[in-house]
């Protein structure tokens, strides 16, 4: 069922399955029943195919709710009483079991024998192979994400028999198994896709863009880009416990004020990804979950390409001048976690960690006096207009604080369309705000993207030979290796001393609920509707 579902055949479907009945004419009471959920979000779902180039972040939820992966993560309780996925626990989704060879280079998966696609056909290893081949071949984001787990070429995947799938790795990596549980490597109905593929489009990107063809917990009942997406439960799902909700309506409402009014009135049950300000104000009346986003830090980045920032004293002076608490309150309304005022000695490998810096203008002045730029200098601080909600207040506070130590800051606002090019690709902004977050929750993965020379999120043009070496050494090393922790601690020590990124705070993902429960935070920052139910 797709966006092309017409009214007429939709009604026919309704006649076949009573579950569609509430859509007929106006039946508010029935539509608001205990098995229907309405979610509002500000983002647009622009494709049903995560692998397509140009697919928006919000569309990843289709990959999560409509498709299965071989593996998934477990669930854990968060300190504030909510739930979160558990990076440490891997659970089977489409796979029944899996084994790893002695050398860690061969992974063998046994598929669930009762798993079927929505059209009733059995899920086979050939479907898994086709889906993995597609993810590593289409290019763009899915291919990059697969590569992070060492999955690079179709010849690494083999369908041994109907229910056995084998992955051969070039090197063993602790990232491979978690990378199989991220949204990208999901399993598509290869027979249905191939029937709609053309010579120019061997991976059926046009077809799968508008039609979901999976085995997941929810089917797509209706999809109108820019307006809504309606999920309907797949009762034959075997990937996990059957979800409580029969139908979930995702409505796009761009204005945060309108979303807030809707959830406060209770006409919708979930407002997803609401601003920090609304979260802080609604927390008293509704269930608001503000989960700190794992492996994500809002940073102030001094660019090494800009001469004064090559002076370590200048960078440290900035780190002592930044008004952390004011920023945390003004930009994040206290949602998230502070990243300042920690111990200097590094005793654990938890990341993000609190830095040893805190606001101390006197100390900052001393450091500036000791630097080669005692008389100060001018620098533009760049922010993205798309991310103005946190960047603008932060930039104003930084501007004021740095003015006190002789650094004359002008704020440069860059339109959203240019931001990525300027900050990440050209890496040309002398001083800017940045917020990388890694999907795979290990410190070395964060370092790989944000601290290694030439890598996308290293927007400060930072290069340190020891960090290069240590990151390469730890990236694929198992976390229980005795060498792992000391190496990671050394990495923390170097970057927190050299400060190519000055951590400000760890942001939160805010979700308000009114009449629903079971929300679970996921690293992909999209709504997994499967565990949610009405109250």
């Amino acid at each position: 069922m797709t966006a092309t579902t017409s009214r007429r055949n939709f009604l026919k479907m309704g006649a076949a399955g009573a579950s569609v009945l509430p859509f007929l004419r106006a039946m508010p009471a029935a539509a608001q029943g205990s098995d229907t959920l309405v979610v509002v979000t500000g983002a647009t779902i622009n494709s049903l195919d995560l692998h397509r180039s140009g697919t928006s972040r919000a569309s990843y939820q289709v990959g999560i709710n409509c498709y299965d992966r071989l593996l998934s993560f477990g669930t854990k309780q968060t300190p504030d009483g909510g739930f979160s996925y558990d990076y440490q626990v891997i659970e089977p989704e489409l796979a029944e079991s899996w084994t790893e060879s002695e050398d860690g280079l061969t992974l063998t998966f046994k598929l669930k024998s009762n798993a079927t696609f929505w059209d009733g056909r059995k899920v086979t290893a050939a479907d898994v192979k086709w889906s993995f081949d597609r993810a590593v071949s289409v290019g763009g984001f899915p291919t990059v994400q697969m590569k992070a787990g060492g999955l690079e070429r179709p010849d690494q995947f083999e369908a041994v028999d109907e229910e056995t799938f084998v992955i051969k790795l070039d090197r063993a990596s602790k990232l491979t198994i978690p990378d199989l549980a991220v949204p990208v490597p999901y399993i598509m109905n290869s027979v249905e896709a191939l029937a709609n593929a053309t010579e120019d489009d061997p991976w059926a990107t046009e077809y799968l863009h508008t039609t979901a063809a999976g085995s997941g917990a929810y089917k797509v009942a209706r999809w109108t880009p820019g307006e809504q997406l309606v999920y309907e439960r797949n009762d034959a799902w075997v990937g996990g416990p059957l979800p409580a909700l029969k139908r979930v309506v995702i409505r796009e409402v761009p204005s945060p004020a309108t979303r807030r009014a809707l959830v406060e009135r209770g006409d919708v049950q979930v407002a997803f990804d609401i601003p920090d300000k609304d979260a802080a104000e609604l927390a008293e009346t509704l269930d608001v979950f503000s989960t700190p986003v794992e492996n994500c830090i809002h940073c102030l980045c001094p660019n090494f390409a800009f001469e004064p920032f090559q002076d370590a004293n200048v960078r440290k002076a900035i780190a002592y001048a930044v008004p952390y608490e004011d920023i945390f309150q003004a930009a994040a309304y206290g949602r998230g976690l502070p990243m300042w005022g920690g111990e200097e000695e590094i005793n654990d490998i938890a990341w993000p960690r609190k830095t040893q810096y805190y606001t101390d203008i006197e100390k900052a002045k001393e450091l500036m006096a000791a630097s080669a730029y005692a008389e100060g200098f001018d620098v533009p601080l760049s922010i993205s207009l798309d991310l103005a909600s946190w960047m603008e207040p932060t930039a104003l506070l930084v501007q004021e604080a740095l003015g006190k130590i002789g650094i004359n800051v002008t704020i440069e606002k860059i339109p959203g369309a240019n931001w990525r090019t300027a900050v990440l690709v050209e890496k040309r902004l002398p001083l800017h705000l940045e917020n990388f977050g890694g999907w795979l929750n290990t410190p070395d993965y964060y370092f790989f993207w944000a601290y290694q020379d030439g890598h996308l999120f290293n927007s400060s043009n930072y290069r340190n030979e020891e960090v290069e070496e240590l990151t390469n050494a730890t990236l694929h090393m198992p976390m229980d290796d005795p060498e792992y922790a000391p190496k990671i601690k050394r990495m923390f020590e170097i970057v927190l001393d050299e400060l190519p990124r000055i951590p400000l705070y760890q942001p939160a993902l805010n979700v308000a609920m009114n009449g629903a429960e079971g929300y679970e935070f996921w690293f992909h920052r999209q709504l997994d509707i499967r565990p949610i139910s009405r109250v």
């Binding site: 009214r7 307006e227 409505r251 009135r265 369309a417």
Partner: protein
């Protein structure tokens, strides 16, 4: 046949005259979107893209080709009626516009009708009774209308009628999710639902339409009321009205047949202008009421440099205004027989 009907010929001439305008719009919109800073390939390559995958995306989008070649591909497709593929919505631009333009037009036209229904009588009353409470009311409404930004009025109306009083339906776009869209005929939900005889859906659509249309009407009625009042005052003080009064014609006849009809001309001109800026003001109303219209579509496309969508939007707006000007010109001749099309 053309010679027999000067009006038809003049109309066709008008349409022919707009062809250079449209060609100019095609070229300018193409060049302007390319001149926008920002790199769509970087944007659409996704969050964790590296140089290689950005390059792959660029090739897939056809942006690696030289500019003039891209232009010829664009014009070639355009001639076949293909406006290209929007990267943002993932659908063809023509499909998006067909879906979203009627949404905006339905909202704007409803608002305009509402505004006319209030503003014109108000302006006439204010002009015939200058200095009375009606005149003051007119002044207050006009001042409030121009000074309140639409997004503010929108949020205020939602707060009062939806949040506090609970009389308005959820501000969730064109239809609450419990209804199905009516069959697509014109794309105007009110018309399509009426054509189907589905009055339940019609009521649903009308209810959703009311608050956003009222927001936009509050904004547009100011210039209409002002213009009506001014034009009526001028007309009422002119010589032919004095003559008509002296001739002992009834007040009704003087007011409507002579004064109002003469005052209509500037009002219609204003309407054309108001219509165009109401389409612009739509963006904010669309955002607040989650209205899937063309304004928010264009702004989102612009933000991410979605070339095809921006070009399609500019082109469709150009065509719309060419049509609008034509309609207004034709209206002039209907209102004032002295104005004719020059047959040259």
């Amino acid at each position: 046949m053309l010679a027999a009907s000067p009006r038809l010929r003049a109309t066709l001439l008008r349409i022919a005259q707009s062809i250079p305008v449209v060609i100019g719009v095609v070229i300018i919109s193409f060049l302007l979107t390319r001149a926008l800073p920002g790199d769509p390939a970087v944007y659409f390559a996704g969050v964790a893209a590296d140089t290689e995958s950005i390059e792959q995306t660029r090739v897939a989008m056809g942006l690696d080709k030289p500019l003039f070649q891209q232009f010829f591909i664009y014009v070639g497709n355009l001639l076949q009626g293909d406006l290209g593929q929007s990267l943002l919505s993932g659908r063809s631009v023509a499909e998006d516009l067909a879906k979203r333009l009627p949404a905006s037009l339905e909202l704007t036209l409803t608002a305009l009708l509402l505004a006319i229904a209030i503003a014109v009588p108000l302006g006439v009353l204010a002009a015939t009774r200058p200095g009375t409470w009606v005149d003051h009311l007119c002044r207050v409404v006009v001042t409030a209308g121009v000074s309140l930004p639409t997004f503010f009025t929108g949020i205020l109306l939602i707060y009062i009628f939806y949040y506090l009083l609970g009389v308005a339906p959820s501000p969730l776009g064109r239809l609450d999710f419990i209804y199905l869209d009516p069959d697509h005929v014109t794309g105007f939900y009110l018309i399509d639902a009426a054509l189907m005889g589905d009055w339940e859906t019609w009521r649903g659509a009308a209810k959703q339409l009311f608050l956003p249309a009222a927001t936009l009407a509050l904004f547009t009625l100011a210039p209409i009321a002002r213009m009506t009042r001014a034009a009526m005052l001028t007309a009422l003080s002119s010589d032919f009205i004095r003559t008509a009064r002296a001739a002992g014609l009834s007040r009704q006849t003087i007011l409507y047949r002579y004064a109002f009809r003469n005052a209509l001309l500037p009002v219609v001109t204003t309407l054309g202008m108001v219509f165009s800026f109401a389409l612009g003001a739509n963006v904010l109303v669309e955002k607040v009421f989650a209205w899937p219209g063309i304004g928010s579509y264009a702004v989102e496309a612009l933000v991410v440099s979605d070339y095809a969508a921006v070009q399609g939007f500019v082109l469709s707006m150009a065509l719309l205004f060419v049509a609008l000007n034509l309609v207004i010109d034709l209206l002039y001749t209907a209102i004032d027989p002295r104005i004719g099309f020059s047959s040259k």
